[in-house]
């Protein structure tokens, strides 16, 4: 059998959910067999993904690869069509990687293990599906499908306010996805042909006003997911209540769906509207960066602090998407993968710390570094990664967004100047809240109340292993970013070219993004 024609993506998407169906029949008394079963399934799926990537995926090709298409419901023209290009592939691999680690991270879960692992595997499928499907309707289904496991995982295994958080999450995202459905249907019925295929939808020529409306609808839906201020308030609640493994998925993968869809649909399918909306995106990105960094600084709850820091980091994704340069878009992609890794590792460590201290309030911690030096070291490493220390992936991503945006010729000099200045304020704010957090947890004299009442044991090998797995790519991409950027470079390059040709062709008379008089970058004489 030829490797290239094997239905890799379908198999990898369906494998976890199919395997999950067998969970009720597995004889298991102490909950140990199931976790090994789930881990094995996750691992096999990840290995398959990596195999498919190395064998069937050509990184120099910007088009969709590993494509499959089967008619599902002929009357609705609904097709099961999957494929991966440079935008999907890194995130698909990230999903396999993080979800498998999240299963390993859920070792201590003892409450209803069957249901828990069932849901984890269901999420595995749903997440892969979102990144791989190439049919708009199917995308919507996958998007919705993955909400249900999250809702249950939040509302059963969450913290004290879990029901409130879960309800808020489901209302927000379901509300948001209604916009996807409406916009998708509108796009499908626009023009002469009725189609849900993403490629065909992108090829359609929409009127500019229609584009603007659809763009706005998509933006609302994805702004909830990403999240973008002011639609972010579900996130601190959901993240504040979730258990560590769910947390890893929420921060590591779910947030990336918003960014992915924003690039795939808003930028890829509605480029003319993107030219109009881009400055708004930049402004929202800046608000995200600064506003969330400040709220994170004031937060006293550890999980919420990190949750807000996620929002802050997503600001760079938004600005990268709106930069109209290949470098910026590339930086946005890198930031998504990088934050997926860093966010997951931080949330895992927060969970590990909570397992020991049984409190998330920073005032009740202090000086635990002496008892838990390994967790201290790992927490420090991951926090430094999060504050974009060079040598780690976050730095490269932010730098690419910075350079990409600063050298973008789509915006006026003044606008860029102010925007870069404000973005750079985030560079100062991030270490303030992350280092204060470290100081309050680990540094200083030991907090006697805590030391006397809680058993503070250091990290076990499983925990060290998980963090090591996450740190290897973080440092790897930080030292040599081409490892990752080359995977999607061809696709982002083509997308930027398309975007620029559309955006600049439409604006012969006036610069659409120039809010202020243009001061062109000086000519360089070679």
């Amino acid at each position: 059998m030829e490797l290239a024609h094997f239905p890799w993506l379908t198999v990898t998407i369906l494998l976890p959910i199919t395997a999950a169906l067998f969970i009720p029949f597995i004889p298991d008394k102490d909950g140990r067999t199931i976790r090994w079963y789930a881990l094995t399934v996750g691992l096999i799926d990840f290995v398959l993904l990596v195999f498919a990537f190395t064998q069937g995926y050509d990184i120099s090709n910007p088009d969709l690869q590993l494509t499959e298409s089967y008619t599902w419901v002929a009357q609705l023209d609904l097709k099961w069509s999957v494929g991966a290009d440079g935008l999907s592939m890194p995130l698909i691999l990230l999903t396999g990687f993080i979800t498998t680690l999240a299963i390993l991270a859920s070792w201590p879960v003892t409450l209803k293990p069957r249901l828990f692992y069932f849901l984890m595997l269901a999420m595995y499928s749903g997440q892969l599906g979102v990144f791989a499907v190439q049919d708009m309707l199917l995308f919507f289904f996958m998007w919705e499908l993955e909400l249900i496991p999250v809702y249950l995982l939040l509302s059963i295994w969450g913290g004290k306010k879990r029901l409130y958080a879960a309800t808020k999450f489901i209302l927000y995202t379901a509300g948001g996805s209604l916009f996807i459905l409406v916009a998708a249907l509108a796009m499908a019925f626009y023009g002469d042909t009725i189609t849900f295929d993403m490629g065909a939808l992108a090829a359609k020529d929409y009127a500019i006003n229609f584009q603007l409306l659809i763009y706005a609808a998509f933006l609302i839906a994805y702004a909830v997911k990403l999240p973008i201020f002011p639609l972010h308030t579900w996130l601190p609640d959901a993240h504040g209540e979730a258990t560590a493994p769910v947390h890893m998925l929420l921060a590591g993968i779910l947030l990336k769906m918003g960014g992915y869809a924003l690039i795939r649909m808003n930028v890829g399918m509605l480029p003319d509207a993107h030219a109009t909306f881009a400055p708004v995106l930049v402004i929202f990105g800046i608000i995200n960066i600064i506003y969330a960094a400040l709220t994170s600084f004031a937060q006293r709850n550890l999980k919420r602090k990190i949750a807000y820091s996620s929002i802050s980091h997503m600001g760079f994704v938004i600005i990268g998407i709106a930069s109209f340069t290949n470098l910026g878009l590339s930086g946005a992609m890198l930031q998504m993968v990088s934050h997926g890794l860093i966010g997951a590792s931080l949330f895992f460590l927060v969970g590990a710390t909570y397992d020991r201290t049984h409190t998330l309030i920073l005032n009740e911690m202090g000086g635990v570094g002496k008892k838990m030096p390994k967790i201290f070291a790992m927490f420090t490493a991951c926090s430094l990664a999060s504050l974009a220390l060079p040598g780690m992936s976050g730095f490269v991503a932010e730098l690419m967004v910075f350079v990409g945006f600063a050298t973008s010729d789509a915006y006026s000099f003044t606008f860029r100047l102010i925007a870069v200045l404000l973005m750079a304020v985030g560079v100062i704010l991030t270490p303030i809240y992350l280092l204060s957090m470290l100081r309050e947890i680990f540094y200083g004299p030991e907090n006697r109340d805590l030391v006397e009442h809680e058993v503070l044991v250091d990290a076990e090998p499983r925990e060290v292993f998980i963090i090591a797995c996450l740190l290897v790519p973080i440092i790897g991409f930080g030292f040599y970013p081409k490892l990752l950027t080359q995977v999607y470079d061809a696709t982002t390059l083509r997308m930027t070219d398309m975007l620029r040709s559309k955006a600049f062709a439409a604006s012969d008379t006036a610069q659409p993004l120039a809010l202020m008089p243009v001061l062109q970058a000086p000519e360089i004489l070679e």
């Binding site: 600084f297 430094l384 040598g391 990409g404 270490p431 200083g444 390059l493």
Partner: protein, 692 residues
């Protein structure tokens, strides 16, 4: 000749060797912490020998550069997006090879010293791995071929500094200090990042010389106004301002003394803080075109030099005193750069690296000795009021410290004289006012350094005086209370008392000389502190023949060297030695022969005394404006987030709930009905957009 080329090809090993050491030991610490922690000697020997190998390699490169080998650069493509490429690599030129030698020698000696100083510390192995990591980052910094790569390593040395200042993380002051250091440096990096981006935007390059050339071209052709170019350069200069502890971002350096003393010597005196001066040297092609920038640089340096010296006068903590002295000396270097005395600034960087490292290591030796008497309380062991007469007990430390003191005071023929004199001479040619500031500072320097030497090593030993001990403890508690603020009393604070009491075990009545592992580096550093200045004498300046600004012809320098003016040298040198001697005499009268009473003088000029003792109140001002201000702002933003943004959401939820009750009759549960609504909405949307 081939072997020489091979050295250049493998020059990347210089930073990589220590990195390998740090990585292996660090991995061991995380994976098998028990085992690794017990393998103290093997881990230390492993790391020290790797650094030694890097040192040998650096010397080979240096000698090859001295013999006139051309600049060697190797680049690889690091990141790319489409046509855009960012390259990284390394470059070995005169400046880089000199810095390699300075960094590796000081790092090597500090590592040897650490074996003695940290012998009883449970974090011995961890300390070595951090040290090694730092050496690696610093070496990477000096061989960086472009501004972007400098920025990368710039942040990495900052991280190592953070980890090492907070090495004793159980101490609250250390915890505060490391965060302060990192954040203050980030403020500088904010400028550096913006400046770097702006220069890249304007010139399309991160390479130093290309940036300089293109910027000049742009300014002359009018593509870019001089003002804008100056702003970009000053933004870049903010980086060095933070890293080299220049006013107004100097506040982190004195606090950084909470780290173990070997760190203070290596990072916060000899190498990392000098990185700022190094960056200015690398950016020289850009800066020298812009007179405004040069003026700003020079004045920042001069002001910092004076300010540091003025604060150092009244410090009682021996390490804090040395820290302000470092700040002051860095000010000299920056001033030299600002007046265009490129060679002189770097010459002072080199001499200062050696004698200041020695002074710090000497102070560490003193503290090590004092701890035997007063216990492991930094507030007691580092306070000069408890010292005195130590020369009797620690002769090697005292002698080397005296050499260092003479060197920093600018007494010929010690190293500091030649470099400082050269700076002052070059400054006089540019601006007599700046020269006067530098000259006055030289006098203050001589005074406070000899005050420090006399209080520590001469007179009677006061370490066993219980009265002073109790008074110092009280001061410490008060300082703690003030920093925590009223109402912050909790169980954490009470540990301070316990800590102070629990180490009465190993007391002896008198301090002892430190072990050979600590005295050997002191003696080794004494040699360059005495002799290295002779490389840069005005009549035979080998140093400047080797180190000169890029683009400047060597012949011009040689000519200038030929026309050496003895009378000018004697006037300039004589005046700076003269004021140094005045300072020393004053110190002798006040702290040795006791003809003048220091406290009486302090009382007479109370406001000035308080200003100096309280470090010009800058920490207090920053605390109110920036620390409290940012906390308040953050709290308000969080309030807004919780009350308004999230409040609206919850209100909406509530309203829906209420109206949902009323809308019940619409919910008939038929899917077709929902589909109809959705379809209607779509139809409306399509129609609407079709019409418009």
């Amino acid at each position: 000749m081939e072997s020489i080329e091979a050295i250049y090809e493998y020059a990347w090993l210089v930073p990589v060797l220590p990195l390998v050491g740090a990585a292996i030991v660090g991995t061991g610490l995380i994976s098998y912490s028990q085992t690794t922690s017990t393998l103290r000697r093997p881990a230390a020997v492993f790391i020290v020998s790797l650094t030694g190998a890097a040192m040998v390699l650096s010397f080979l490169l240096f000698f090859s550069q001295v013999q006139g080998h051309e600049t060697y650069t190797r680049m690889i493509e690091w990141a790319s997006a489409g046509d855009f490429r960012i390259t990284m690599g390394y470059t070995i030129d005169h400046l880089a090879s000199l810095m390699l030698v300075i960094v590796t020698t000081v790092a090597f000696l500090v590592m040897v010293y650490t074996d003695g100083y940290m012998a009883h510390d449970p974090g011995y192995v961890r300390f070595y791995s951090y040290l090694s990591l730092f050496s690696s980052s610093m070496l990477g910094l000096v061989i960086s071929p472009n501004l972007l790569q400098v920025y990368v390593f710039w942040e990495l040395v900052g991280m190592c500094s953070y980890l090492l200042i907070g090495f004793w993380y159980g101490r609250k002051p250390a915890a505060d200090a490391c965060q302060k250091a990192f954040v203050t440096n980030r403020v500088g990096d904010f400028g550096l990042l913006l400046g770097m981006l702006a220069l890249f935007w304007a010139t399309g390059s991160f390479e130093f010389e290309v940036m300089g050339d293109r910027l000049t071209e742009l300014v002359t052709t009018g593509g870019l106004t001089t003002g804008l170019a100056a702003i970009f350069a000053i933004l870049v200069f903010l980086g060095p301002v933070a890293k080299s502890a220049q006013f107004p971002l100097h506040v982190w350096l004195p606090d950084a003394m909470e780290g173990p003393t070997p760190i203070s010597a290596l990072i916060h005196a000899a190498t990392m803080v000098a990185a700022g001066v190094f960056l200015v040297a690398r950016m020289f092609p850009v800066f020298e075109q812009l007179p405004t920038v040069m003026t700003v640089v020079a004045w920042t340096g001069a002001f910092t030099a004076f300010m540091g010296a003025s604060i150092a006068i009244t410090q009682n903590d021996i390490k804090k005193g040395l820290a302000y002295s470092t700040m002051s000396q860095l000010g000299y270097m920056v001033m030299a750069m600002g007046v265009g005395a490129y060679g002189a600034g770097l010459f002072h960087l080199m001499t200062h690296a050696y004698f200041k490292a020695m002074l710090f290591l000497g102070s560490g030796s003193v503290i090590h000795g004092m701890e035997e008497v007063v216990g492991h309380n930094p507030a007691l062991a580092q306070d000069m009021r408890l010292m005195g007469g130590l020369r009797k007990y620690m002769p090697i430390t005292a002698t080397t410290f005296l050499i260092g003191t003479l060197a920093i005071c600018g007494i010929p023929p010690f190293a500091g004289f030649w470099s400082k004199d050269e700076i002052l001479g070059s400054t006089f040619e540019v601006s007599p006012v700046l020269w006067a500031v530098g000259w006055l500072t030289a006098g203050i320097t001589a005074f406070y350094m000899f005050r420090m030497y006399f209080s520590t090593f001469e007179g009677e030993f006061r370490g066993t005086n219980k009265e002073i001990q109790i008074q110092l403890k009280r001061e410490q508690l008060m300082a703690m209370g003030a920093s925590l603020g009223p109402g912050a009393m909790n169980s954490k604070e009470l540990t301070l008392d316990a800590e102070a009491h629990d180490d009465h075990g190993h007391h002896s009545e008198v301090p002892h000389e430190s072990p050979i592992a600590m005295t050997f580096p002191l003696m080794a550093l004494a040699v360059p502190s005495v002799l290295i200045g002779l490389l840069g004498t005005p009549f035979a300046n080998y140093f400047e023949a080797f180190i000169h600004p890029p683009g400047e012809a060597v012949e011009a320098l040689a000519e200038a060297g030929g026309a050496f003016d003895w009378s000018e040298f004697l006037i300039m040198g004589g005046s700076s030695v003269g004021i140094g001697l005045i300072g020393i005499t004053l110190a002798v009268m006040m702290y040795r022969t006791r003809q003048l009473d220091p406290s009486a003088i302090a009382d007479r000029i109370k406001p000035l005394y308080q200003l100096s003792k309280n470090k010009w109140y800058i920490d207090e001002i920053y605390d109110v404006v920036f620390v409290q201000g940012s906390r308040k702002l953050a709290k308000q933003v969080l309030e807004i987030d919780v009350r308004i943004v999230d409040g609206l959401v919850n209100l909406a939820g509530f309203v829906t709930l209420v109206s949902g009750e009323g809308l019940k009759y619409l919910e008939n549960g038929r899917a077709q009905f929902y589909a109809l609504i959705v379809f209607g909405a779509v139809l409306g949307l399509v129609l609407l957009s079709g019409i418009t």
